[in-house]
């Protein structure tokens, strides 16, 4: 459950493929101190149970577009943590 105040940013996090297996879930909601970035979110995720299996710098998408560690997060963003892509 996320709690949104002026001082926090609540986002939805999606995990896929091998990352969903490593962490043991496919989605969660997180609140981070504002201003929040992708990098801060990843650090938090890696502290959660199972989160240490995630790499320090995974591929991340914010609202369906590739993002960078310093990309800012906004309230209700959809953040996807993407294992190495294998399409094609």
């Amino acid at each position: 459950m996320s709690v949104s105040t002026a001082a926090t940013v609540s986002v939805r996090v999606l995990l896929f493929a091998s990352y969903a297996e490593v962490v043991g879930r496919q989605s969660l909601e997180l609140s981070l101190p504002a201003p929040a970035t992708v990098g801060a979110l990843i650090r938090r995720l890696r502290e959660l149970p199972g989160g240490a299996g995630l790499p320090e710098r995974p591929l991340v998408a914010v609202n369906h577009a590739h993002a960078r560690p310093d990309s800012p997060l906004s309230e209700r963003d959809e953040i996807a943590i993407l294992p190495p892509l294998a399409g094609g």
């Binding site: 896929f16 493929a17 091998s18 998408a61 577009a65 294992p83 892509l85 294998a86 399409g87 094609g88």
Partner: protein
């Protein structure tokens, strides 16, 4: 236009979609499930995607090809279970001349591999199952294959 489907891909349908009287060259690509991967015999595989983003990335790739080469690109990726020999991705790129058609087709497949969030779970004849990491191909690495190293694929953004 959906770029993802669980149905078998039909290249002819994509060719029809990009054809037009002014387009004299159509370059196509089919990526087909091979019978082996890193020396291991593959039995079948499953593709899965972060679907809304995969659709959006495919559409961006099509738009970029149109802007760069004045080429019309149709692009489909299959999801779900595939057998050996079935097409996982199909691309048709039509342009006035063949240079642009080939360039746009090649661009599309390279960008699909780099940017579109799709994953492949391979089942091997020996009973093993792995999430495929294209960065790890050539160094078969058993049960740890599913725990990737820090991302180098697109260096955080394209």
């Amino acid at each position: 236009m959906s770029h993802l489907t669980t149905a078998p891909l039909e290249l002819g349908r994509l060719v029809t979609r990009v054809s037009a009287p002014g387009r004299g060259g159509i370059a196509c690509f089919l990526g087909v499930v091979r019978d082996q991967q890193g020396g291991r015999a593959v039995a079948r595989l499953d593709y899965s995607a972060y679907e809304p983003m995969a659709e959006a990335e495919c559409e961006r790739i099509v738009t970029e090809a149109r802007g760069r080469w004045n080429a019309e690109v149709a692009l489909e990726h299959r999801l779900g279970r595939l057998e050996i020999g079935e097409a996982a991705v199909a691309i048709a790129a039509a342009a006035a001349h063949r240079d642009a058609a080939f360039a746009a087709c090649r661009y599309a497949i390279e960008q699909v591999k780099q940017r579109v969030p799709i994953w492949k779970r391979e089942e091997y004849v020996d009973g093993g199952v792995e999430w495929v990491n294209p960065q790890a191909v050539g160094r078969p690495d058993g049960p740890t294959a599913g725990v990737p190293e820090p991302a180098t694929q697109t260096e955080w953004g394209v």
